[in-house]
């Protein structure tokens, strides 16, 4: 059983609008898979179907060998979802959020699990503050930390960096890379090409309800005419400038 996700001819409509018109793709175990698409392309719909939150109209989808519609219970045992909007309880503290999920996963020592994750995600100082006081990046880290509890084999990250500043985005990227190194399969959706380029082993592009291309970054690049050598004066991008300035400040 090498495949973490297998999707065949997946279809979904909302009222009369067809969002998914026959989507096919596969995700291998242990890889980072990026689903790329513009706003409203149906990325979240796919995530919701795979995470058993939505029923497909047609086609099949299996996660870790289980059909999402027929064996949703088994699917839920092996996945974690980090939705588009940070799914943390804002009234609880970071620590309480983690303990709550650890209890719901029926782990033996919820307090210890929470303490370890707070450390790993650099949230120790903020542990006993309400999540509503967290910055966007901290909230996202807490969100992802909550998804790691119980060591699920597959993690869905639906636009994990949308709305984050560049620094927080890099923090999240590092977390995702670390995850993949530890053998977890990561299914990521994004509208940023750069993010897919940075992180993904496999990339699929969703457009108008279908996957129009998929493959590794190298394979996708081959689809275009061979690179031409041109001399262009390279100015630092504003983002590079911003990060360099901030980096300098922190060194002081």
């Amino acid at each position: 059983m090498e495949k973490a996700i297998e999707v065949k001819d997946l279809r979904k409509s909302f009222k009369s609008a067809a969002v998914l018109k026959g989507v096919d793709f596969e995700v291998k175990r242990g890889e980072i898979f990026a689903l790329l698409g513009s706003n409203g392309a149906g990325k979240t719909t796919i995530v919701k179907i795979l995470a058993t939150l939505l029923k497909p109209d047609g086609g099949t989808a299996t996660v870790n060998g289980f059909d999402v519609a027929a064996h949703s219970e088994n699917v839920r045992q092996s996945i974690s979802l980090t939705g588009q909007f940070a799914a943390v309880d804002e009234i609880l503290t970071g620590r309480e959020n983690l303990i709550m999920i650890a209890k719901l996963r029926h782990l033996k020592n919820p307090r210890q699990v929470a303490a370890d994750l707070l450390k790993r995600f650099g949230l120790v100082d903020a542990a006993d503050r309400r999540a509503s006081t967290y910055s966007g990046g901290m909230r996202r880290r807490l969100d992802i930390a909550m998804s790691l509890i119980g060591k699920p084999q597959l993690i869905f990250l639906d636009e994990p960096t949308t709305g984050l500043d560049p620094e927080a985005r890099i923090e999240v990227w590092n977390v995702v890379k670390e995850l993949a190194n530890s053998g977890t399969t990561v299914f990521l959706t994004t509208q940023y090409l750069e993010e897919a380029e940075q992180l993904a082993d496999q990339i699929a592009i969703l457009h108008e309800g279908r996957i129009i291309v998929s493959g590794t970054l190298e394979e996708l690049k081959k689809l275009f005419p061979p690179a031409k050598v041109e001399y262009v004066e390279k100015q630092p991008s504003l983002e590079e400038l911003f990060l360099a300035l901030i980096g300098k400040k922190e060194e002081k």
């Binding site: 995470a51 939150l53 939505l54 209890k103 998804s147």
Partner: protein
């Protein structure tokens, strides 16, 4: 399948702990729920009470059951509110994609409603005691009163779950409670129904609040409860069952 059933109660416990924290961290919700009924009680006892012929020398005693129902009716609006906020925030999606019984998520909210309403009912009874409320009822009668109030809370909470799950805005999520809060006015809660015009009286005497209020009043004043208590219980159970089934239907549609 087995694991979610095995952990059903402990999962509900975690959910209850979670939303109880929401309440203890925003005590204003309990205060808001208590203030309007207490203000009503003060108004009716000290301003209007002198002119009301309720056939009793202690108007606080007469008034208290209706006031408690009003408090519960406004208290359950917060259940709809909390549920609505959960639906919005994405935390529901996290819970629903975890291997826990989905109904545990709803039961957590329902139990929280029971506990928070019990707190506001106790606060209001304490204020009523200061205002001169006295009861000769024994333990059994008090337990019966607690049982009726718990059943009313459960029934109304399951009604609240429906707008909590389906509302499109915060206002929509709590607007349903206004008619429920208003219902005690057209009942025997404030004045006996005898003085009302025929049509109003017919409505007042045949709506649930009157039988519930009369049953509680009889229990608290050690009077025979007669058939009122059975009518009251039938109303509560009937509403509870219908609201529960509807809420579950809506919930299943919303969440696969």
């Amino acid at each position: 399948m087995e694991t979610t059933k095995k952990h059903f109660l402990s999962d509900i416990g975690v959910m209850l702990g979670r939303s109880m924290r929401h309440i203890t961290r925003s005590m204003d919700t309990i205060i808001t729920v208590c203030i309007t009924p207490i203000a009503m009680m003060l108004l009716f006892v000290y301003v209007l009470g002198g002119a009301i012929q309720a056939g009793t020398d202690n108007y606080v005693n007469y008034l208290l059951p209706g006031i408690l129902l009003m408090a519960i009716a406004s208290g359950i609006a917060y259940t709809a509110f909390r549920l609505f906020m959960d639906m919005q925030s994405g935390i529901f999606e996290r819970f629903h994609s975890m291997p826990i019984a989905r109904s545990a998520v709803l039961w957590g909210h329902v139990l929280t409603s029971l506990v928070s309403n019990a707190i506001s009912v106790i606060v209001i009874i304490l204020v009523a005691l200061i205002m001169g409320f006295r009861s000769s009822a024994g333990i059994v009668s008090w337990l019966a009163v607690a049982g009726i109030l718990a059943l009313v809370t459960l029934a109304l909470t399951w009604i609240a779950v429906i707008p909590g799950l389906t509302a499109k805005s915060i206002d929509g999520a709590s607007a349903f409670s206004y008619p429920l809060i208003f219902l005690p006015f057209i009942s025997s809660a404030f004045v006996p129904t005898d003085s009302m015009p025929t049509v109003v009286r017919a409505f007042a005497e045949n709506q649930p609040v009157t039988s519930i209020v009369d049953a509680i009043r009889a229990l608290l004043s050690n009077q025979p409860v007669g058939s009122e208590i059975w009518i009251a219980l039938a109303w509560c159970l009937g509403i509870l069952i219908v609201a529960y089934l509807l809420a579950m239907l809506v919930y299943k549609r919303k969440a696969l």
